[in-house]
C-alpha cells in the first residue's frame, strides 16, 4: 500500500531541549491515523515538521514521497494543516476567508468556487459566513477551520487536536464529519489528540507517543487486546508504565 507519510529517526531539538527523540513511523494512504500522547510528548512538533513549518534536526520525513525539507513547496500542495488553536483573519468574513484560502490551491475561478462551495457545505455556517469571523463562537471558528482544511481535498489532512475546546455536541459532529469526508474523498488524515475515546472511534491506526518517542503502533482494537485493558486509555497507561 502506498505511503502517505514516511518518518525515519526523526529528531527535533529546541536549544538544548529534545522535543522529538528518534520517531519512526509510516502512515498508509487513505488511513485515519492518530497520535496519542500527553502534553509535551512531541505530537505538535511532529505535526509541524510534517506540515513544513519547522525543520527536523535530523532524520527523514516524506509526504507522498516528497521530502518535507528539500521539497517543502511540493509538500504544501499536498497537505492541509489545522493547528490546535487556528484562527481566521478577524476582519474578513468567513466566506472571504474560505475564498482566500482556496485561491492559494487553485488557479481557475471555477475550481476556487467549487472548493468554496464545499467549504460552505462542510462548515454548515449558512448566512453567518457573510459575517466577520471575529463575531463567531469557538465552535463556529473550529467548523470554519475544518472546512478550510478539508474543502481543498488534500492528499493529507493534518489535524492537531481537531475537537479541542469544543462541547460534546460540536465535537461529536466534527468527528463524524472528518471520518465521513476522509472516507468519501480518500483523504489521509493524521490527527493528534488527548482524547483517547475520540482516537479510538475515528482512527484506523494509532501511535502512542511519550517523551518524544513512539512507544507503540497499531490498530486501536489490537492494542486494547494486546495490553489486556478495556479501553485505549488503559492500554496507553500500561505501555507508558503508569498502570
Amino acid at each position: 500500500m502506498p505511503q502517505a507519510i514516511f518518518i525515519k529517526d526523526l529528531v527535533k531539538e529546541f536549544s538544548k531541549r529534545r522535543a522529538v527523540d528518534g520517531i519512526s513511523m509510516e502512515v498508509n494512504e487513505g488511513d485515519v491515523f492518530g497520535l496519542i500522547g500527553p502534553n509535551g510528548a512531541g505530537k505538535t512538533t511532529t505535526l509541524r515538521i510534517i506540515a513544513t513549518i519547522i525543520k527536523p534536526t535530523s532524520g527523514q520525513v516524506a509526504v507522498c514521497g516528497k521530502d518535507v525539507v528539500r521539497e517543502a513547496a511540493e509538500v504544501r500542495r499536498l497537505i492541509s494543516y489545522l493547528p490546535e488553536e487556528a484562527g481566521a483573519y478577524q476582519n474578513l468574513t468567513g466566506l472571504e476567508y474560505l475564498r482566500l484560502m482556496a485561491s492559494f490551491y487553485y488557479r481557475s475561478e471555477e475550481e476556487v468556487e467549487t472548493a468554496v462551495a464545499e467549504g460552505i457545505r462542510i462548515s454548515a455556517l449558512g448566512d453567518r459566513l457573510r459575517d466577520k469571523s471575529s463575531t463567531y463562537s469557538k465552535g463556529m471558528k473550529r467548523r470554519l477551520q475544518l472546512a478550510r482544511a478539508l474543502m481543498v481535498k488534500p492528499r493529507l489532512a493534518i489535524l492537531d487536536e481537531p475537537t479541542s475546546g469544543l462541547d460534546v455536541t460540536h465535537a461529536f459532529q466534527l468527528r463524524k464529519l472528518i471520518k465521513e469526508y476522509a472516507g468519501m474523498n480518500r483523504i489521509t488524515v493524521l490527527l493528534s489528540s488527548h482524547n483517547m475515546l475520540e482516537v479510538e472511534k475515528m482512527c484506523d491506526r494509532v501511535a502512542f507517543i511519550n517523551a518524544g518517542r513512539v512507544v507503540e503502533v497499531g490498530k486501536p482494537g489490537e492494542l486494547v487486546s494486546k495490553y489486556g485493558g478495556d479501553t485505549l486509555e488503559e492500554a496507553f497507561m500500561k505501555v507508558v508504565g503508569f498502570a
Binding site: 513549518i53 519547522i54 497537505i79 492559494f104
Partner: protein, 429 residues
C-alpha cells in the same frame, strides 16, 4: 505579480483597512483631530483677538493737563480707545480695575519737560487677574499706541527744530537694504523673511518622512504580531505560497496603508497649520522670484523619492523582522516603541540645526542611521547639495538589501514561528 503575492497583498490591505484600530486610530482620527484642533485654535484665537481689540478702554490720571498730554489722550481716542479720566493718586484707583484694564498716569510737567527739550515718562499700570491672552494683548495695544504717538511727536519736534531737513533722514540716517544671494543670484529679500519661508519647507520634510516611517513600522510589526496572536500565521505557512510572497505581501500591504495614512495626516496637518497661522501674506521683496530659484530640480525629487522608498523598505524589513520576535500585538508595539528612536532622531537634529555643525562622533552616528538620508534629501531639495544624499542612496541600498536579506532568512526559516522576545518577567518553572 505572482498570484500568491497578489492574493496576500489584497488580503493584507483588506484586513488592515478593516481593522478599526488602524482605520480609526491611524487614518480617521488624525485626519479629523488635527483640523478640529486647528479650527478650535483659530476660533479661540479669533474671539480672543476680537475681545482684546473690540472694546478697549483705559483709565487715565492726568496730573499734567498740558497740550501734549491732551494730544496723547486724543490719539488714544482716534485709535478707538475709550479714555476714562479719574483723579487722585493712581494707587488709590487700582481697586476699580478689572482684568486687563490699563491705568495710564501722566505726571505733572509732562508737556513742559518735552517742549523744554527734556524727557518725561508716563507710568502704565496693567491689572492682571487671569493672565489670559486678552489681558496681555490689551496692555500690548496700549504700548503700541504710545510708541506710535511718540514717533509722531518726535517727527514733529524734529521738524520744528530743523524745518528744512527730512525728519526721517535725521532719525534714521542708516537704512539696511538686504540682498540674499541664492545660487549665485542676489534677491532683494531679508534673511529673516527668507528664513521663515525656507524653515517651513525644511521642517515639514523631515516631519512628514518621520511620520510615514513610524506609521509603516507600526503597521508592519503589528500585522505580523496579529498573525501570531490570532494563530493565522501557522496556517499561512503551510499553504502553497512562497515565504517570500508572505514577506512581500506584508511589505506591500503596510506601505499602502502607511501611504494612505500619510496622505490623511499631511492633509490634516496642512489644514491645521493653515488654520493656526492663517494664510501667509505676499512675501516682501523678491520672495516670489527667490522662491522660483529655490524650487527643487527634478533630480532632487528623484533622489528624495528613492531615499524615502529605500528608508521605507528597510524600516519595514526591520519592523517585520522584529515583529516575528513578538508574541503578541502589545509586544510588537513595545519593540517598535524602542526602534523608532533612530527614526525620529535624525529628523529632530535636522529641525534643530545643521548636521555638519555637530561633533564628528555625533555626525558619524547620524550618518550610520539610514533614516537620516531622506531628511537630508528633503533639505537638499532647497539647498541643491545632493552630494551626501547620493552617497546616502548607495549606503541605504546596501542597508535595505541587508535588512531584506535578514527578513527573508527569518521568513524562510522556522524562526518566524520559534523566535521569541518577551518583555514580561519569566515565570518560574
Amino acid at each position: 505579480m505572482p498570484s500568491g503575492l497578489r492574493l496576500l497583498v489584497i488580503k493584507e490591505i483588506k484586513d488592515l483597512l478593516r481593522d478599526p484600530k488602524i482605520l480609526v486610530g491611524i487614518i480617521i482620527f488624525p485626519a479629523l483631530l488635527l483640523p478640529l484642533m486647528g479650527a478650535a485654535i483659530s476660533v479661540s484665537t479669533g474671539s480672543t483677538i476680537e475681545k482684546a481689540y473690540g472694546n478697549l478702554s483705559i483709565y487715565v490720571v492726568d496730573e499734567d493737563n498740558g497740550s501734549i498730554s491732551q494730544a496723547l489722550l486724543d490719539y488714544f481716542g482716534a485709535n478707538n480707545v475709550e479714555v476714562n479720566k479719574i483723579s487722585g493718586p493712581p494707587e488709590s484707583s487700582l481697586g476699580v480695575l478689572s482684568g486687563g484694564d490699563v491705568l495710564l498716569c501722566i505726571p505733572a510737567g509732562f508737556t513742559s519737560n518735552i517742549t523744554g527739550g527734556n524727557w518725561s515718562g508716563v507710568v502704565i499700570y496693567v491689572n492682571f487677574k487671569d493672565f489670559s491672552m486678552v489681558e496681555f494683548i490689551k496692555s500690548g495695544r496700549v504700548d503700541q499706541i504710545i510708541n506710535s504717538f511718540r514717533s509722531e511727536l518726535v517727527r514733529r519736534l524734529v521738524s520744528e527744530e530743523a524745518p528744512d531737513r527730512d525728519p526721517n533722514a535725521l532719525l534714521n540716517p542708516i537704512r539696511q537694504d538686504y540682498k540674499s544671494v541664492i545660487k549665485g543670484e542676489a534677491f532683494r529679500i531679508s534673511p529673516a523673511v527668507l528664513q521663515g519661508t525656507v524653515q517651513m519647507q525644511t521642517l515639514m520634510g523631515p516631519i512628514v518622512i518621520m511620520l510615514v516611517l513610524i506609521l509603516a513600522m507600526q503597521i508592519a510589526a503589528t500585522s505580523i504580531a496579529i498573525e501570531k496572536e490570532a494563530k493565522t500565521l501557522e496556517t499561512l505557512l503551510t499553504v502553497p505560497v512562497s515565504r517570500m510572497s508572505i514577506l512581500f505581501g506584508k511589505l506591500a500591504g503596510s506601505v499602502t496603508v502607511a501611504l494612505l495614512a500619510t496622505v490623511a495626516n499631511v492633509f490634516a496637518f496642512t489644514y491645521y497649520i493653515g488654520a493656526v497661522l492663517g494664510s501667509a501674506g505676499a512675501g516682501a521683496g523678491d520672495l516670489g522670484q527667490a522662491g522660483l530659484k529655490l524650487a527643487p530640480a527634478p533630480e532632487g525629487y528623484l533622489i528624495l523619492g528613492l531615499s524615502i522608498f529605500g528608508a521605507l523598505i528597510s524600516a519595514l524589513a526591520i519592523a517585520l523582522t522584529l515583529g516575528t520576535l513578538a508574541q503578541d500585538v502589545r509586544g510588537a508595539q513595545s519593540i517598535i516603541g524602542i526602534v523608532i528612536v533612530p527614526v525620529f532622531l535624525p529628523a529632530i537634529f535636522m529641525m534643530m540645526g545643521d548636521i555638519s555643525a555637530l561633533p564628528p562622533a555625533m555626525q558619524a552616528v547620524l550618518y550610520l542611521i539610514p533614516f537620516t538620508y531622506p531628511a537630508l534629501a528633503s533639505q537638499a531639495l532647497i539647498t541643491g547639495n545632493y552630494g551626501m544624499s547620493l552617497i546616502g542612496l548607495v549606503y541605504m541600498a546596501c542597508f535595505t538589501l541587508a535588512m531584506l536579506y535578514i527578513a527573508a532568512k527569518i521568513f524562510s526559516s522556522e524562526r518566524i514561528m520559534t523566535a521569541r522576545i518577551s518583555f514580561r518577567a519569566r515565570k518560574a518553572d
